[in-house]
Symmetry: C2
Subunit: 209 residues, 2 copies
Amino acid sequence: MSDPAVLLDLDGTLVDSVFVHVVTWSDALREHGYEVPMWRIHAAIGMGSDRNLLWWLGREMPEADALAASHKRRFLDMAERLLPTNGAHALLDDLAGREVPFVIATSAGTEEREALLAALGREDLPITGADDVESSKPATDLLEEAAKAVKADLDQVTMIGDSPWDAEAADRLGVRMIALRCGGFADDRLLSAGAYEVVDDPLALVGRL
Amino acid sequence: MSDPAVLLDLDGTLVDSVFVHVVTWSDALREHGYEVPMWRIHAAIGMGSDRNLLWWLGREMPEADALAASHKRRFLDMAERLLPTNGAHALLDDLAGREVPFVIATSAGTEEREALLAALGREDLPITGADDVESSKPATDLLEEAAKAVKADLDQVTMIGDSPWDAEAADRLGVRMIALRCGGFADDRLLSAGAYEVVDDPLALVGRL
């Protein structure tokens, strides 16, 4: 049996980015003539790929690449306003200090990932990224690959994320998932998607994982 | 006994503005050195005044005016991206067509109200505003004044809003309140604040009020 290990989502979990994604997706969609209510966009944030997100919002695929490019440009333009979530640094330091194996499991594209890590101000983090896998959340590929990266059996892994899509991916894989409220998702959505527990933010998990 | 009448919140209810408020409050707070998680800001949106909102976020009062001015400037700068919520026009037309007395009850300041009405594209709406009352949501003054404007007994009034603060004000007054999900607030928060029912957006209420 392996040691316990932790998989951490990045976008929305360690960086307070969800509401910025909502506004920039809204702008990108509107640029292409689509008026999508912001609460519907919010509900789709955290899906592993732009294509999944647009599919979920019911948009046609032909424009997916242009929409995703427009969102990315707008998101990077707003990246300087991104801040770490409450306790993100404390949790990372806690895991490192107690030598709990952990890895960031993120499906963010390369440039967005760099902007998120810059907002976090950490360059020393182990990462399993979208480039390492075939399909993204709510598919389980990213989490499986991340678990391999920390050499952990799935039943020894705890996943920390902020969106129902994190919870769904973990649930499919039989991985225990603790959800954070700091992405703005409702407790009942997180729990019904498979979260084991809901806490406010990373600070609430310091010393507990 | 008076005829049934409807009170409509504006910000977040008829205009899809909540997420824009979150981002612009975040920027204003950060400008003054405060890092407040966006999900916490979101939870405060819909309070009737900037002062209430800042108090709820735990900020000191001395800077309230400067913070509110910074938020207002940033919000007005982003006003061109505001859109009506789904079915806002259909609901207004439905109420007018069936001659149901209604009034917009909004605590938005003058400039923000004008920006919201411009986004809605209607200049023909009866309005009870913050200028007409002493205290704002979750205080009941605005709703009481609005009910007077439509000459309705409180037990004949239905209030439509998107935030828990709307629900709380209505509940205090014994007014039936139907909450909309389009502001991004969770069903359980709306219901526990006193909402009678939760529906997606104004479209869901066409023909029903």
